[in-house]
Amino acid sequence: MNLQKAAFLLMGVYFGFVLCRTGVSDFRLIYGFFTGINFTLAGVMGVAIATAFAGMRILKVKNKTLQGEPLKIDYKGLHRLSLLGAAIFGLGWGMTGSCPGTVLVQLGEGKIPVLFTFAGLGTGTWLYAFLLEKRK
């Protein structure tokens, strides 16, 4: 395992730890958000977006990574089916109370039903590749 992969592993530990400590992996928080009882999730996301925005602004002043490369900002475009995908994703989020990141956190926390959400996520990803193949 090289240094970069170890760094990504550590970054994942940090990401998962923060999601868990903040309660974002707590089903009650997600359910509360979608049923209008508890807006903690919106607060967390709002502050996260604002922090990321500010941090990126500072980083863009020099426009350099630690290795001295210029930043390559990823841009995900819209295509004909994007919003259909977003709707499908939303229904899954609302049904399971997990998203692709918190599924992993919840697995670490010992939440057994999430194993099936996890298996579903893999199957859904495979299904995407399968449908793409059929369309061509």
Binding site: V13, G16, V18, T35, V47, A86, I88, G94, G101, K111
Partner: protein, 178 residues
């Protein structure tokens, strides 16, 4: 009453929403600073599927993205599981849990049926995030923070249909609407 030692504040008590938001948001600039790449989780499920199934006939898995299935995405995902585990061990909350509070708690269905329910929900998450080109981390945190219009509109759809999903399920199983 718990003592507010530094250990308890960090490892045991739940963080304030703003503190968690700051810690979460920092991952976006840190990803660029260290790795010059965008924060994102869902694409990594492609790595996992390729590792598990070797689907040689599906060209999508042969794309450049998955040329090395043991790339950073795999290690980032492994780290997230470890982070959730460490956090719940340190706070003393770790245990094997078979029920999901509100999500399956109000749903009167046998244990085994609830697994099909979770599997189907997960399938929607996997398929949907691939069609939409990202999930809550890639679109909602990274994309919106960069003021990317597609990510903003996609996140609105995530939330609208998330609310629809949760409320439809509640209506079906409990007869209680919004």
């Amino acid at each position: 009453m718990m003592e507010h030692t530094i250990f308890n504040v960090i490892f045991v008590e739940r963080w304030q929403w703003w503190a968690g938001g700051i810690a979460l948001g920092l991952t976006v600039p840190l990803f660029y600073l260290f790795f010059n790449t965008a924060l994102g989780v869902s694409t990594g499920y492609g790595n996992l599927v390729k590792i598990a199934l070797h689907p040689k006939k599906l060209r999508w898995f042969n794309s450049e993205k998955f040329s090395d299935v043991w790339n950073w995405r795999f290690f980032f995902m492994a780290g997230i599981i470890t982070g959730g585990f460490l956090s719940s061990i340190l706070s003393g909350e770790f245990s094997l849990k078979f029920f999901m509070d509100e999500f399956t708690g109000f749903i009167q269905m046998p244990f085994t049926v609830s697994f099909f329910y979770m599997f189907f929900g997960g399938l929607l998450l996997g398929l949907g995030s691939r069609i939409a080109g990202g999930c809550t981390s890639g679109h909602s945190i990274h994309g919106i923070s960069q003021l990317h219009f597609p990510s903003i509109i996609i996140t609105i759809f995530f939330i609208l249909f998330g609310a629809a999903g949760a409320n439809i399920v509640r209506l079906i199983f409990t007869g209680r609407g919004i």
